[in-house]
Subunit: 191 residues, 2 copies
């Protein structure tokens, strides 16, 4: 709980009343490795704050291959906003890569906070804006650099994550096969 309160201190920090409203509505859960927070076809019902561990959110194409959209580790938020807000079945999976502990807000609780404390509108606006910026940079990179460059950039941007994740997951995030990533890695160390 301290984690999430400190998290909000980065934005407009919460007063006594807001903190109480938030913490009384959060549900703490432990998620095992390989357990799902969300599966294709489900309605996404929660906005999830990661206290510990790491999740991947991915889609599966018609040939059954997984494509990682993002990872969420400590102090990050994760949800399929499309499903959560538009109330339609998700086309995505959210799966624990490590044993995780999380704090969850239901859609109803989120709305309660938005309606009664404008600060949450503000803070979540900023949080979503930051995520939008990340996604925009990722899309631009996907179009304008080679797999080799994208891997180098991933290592530079997420050095800690790159050590925790199996290469097969990184490959899926970069939009390449594990075999090709292996080749790239080999060329790097060969220098």
């Amino acid at each position: 709980m301290e984690n999430i309160v400190r998290h909000f201190d980065q934005y407009l920090s919460l007063n006594e009343e807001e903190r109480e409203a938030l913490t009384s509505r959060l549900t703490a859960r432990k998620i095992k490795r390989r357990q799902f927070l969300l599966q294709e076809g489900d309605l996404c019902k929660h906005f999830t704050y990661v206290v510990e561990g790491c999740f991947k959110m991915y889609g599966v194409d018609k040939s059954g291959k997984e494509h990682n959209l993002l990872f969420a580790a400590e102090d990050d938020w994760i949800a399929d906003l499309d499903s959560l807000h538009k109330e339609r079945p998700s086309s995505l999976f959210i799966e624990a890569i490590e044993p995780c502990s999380v704090l969850q807000l239901s859609k109803g609780d989120l709305w309660y906070l938005y309606t009664n404390f404008p600060k949450f509108d503000r803070n979540f606006r900023v949080i979503v804006e930051d995520k939008y910026i990340e996604l925009q940079n990722r899309l631009l990179q996907t179009f304008s650099s080679t797999a080799y460059e994208r891997y180098a950039f991933f290592l530079a941007q997420y050095p800690q994550l790159s050590l925790r994740l199996p290469n097969t997951q990184i490959a899926s995030y970069l939009g390449i096969t594990p075999e090709f990533l292996s080749k790239i890695r080999n060329e790097r160390t060969g220098k």
Copy 2:
């Protein structure tokens, strides 16, 4: 001006006071075809609402090729949020594809509205969330479908835009060359 007021009616609609606060701060501008709203290296200083016409936002890779991140036409918002919020030089261009008329909010005015009328925090939160969802779907599609499928999807999703835009711009948006798009189009009509 009526356009933008109607635009906000989709969300929490504005009362008299909010409407006045908004409209008194908007600056109307005409932008000619091929004129830039933003160039690489500039600071993005405005959030721009498109009343008429169409813009493209794109990045240029080191070999000089353009990669379209998005188009913004009537009733849409456009800005490089990264540059606007983080106050760093943009790596993007925003250029008019058609003669345009826009309404602009400066960063300071935006902040004034956020601070004095929480409804703007709410409405812009929802606007950015919708744009996040769009981008997330686009990224997933880029990873998990062929160029042929992405083109078909683009036609289905933006039928009106596809008629207004030259194919070379659509190709750049899909992440392929105009030559390859021409081939795809040829295969389609050949059926």
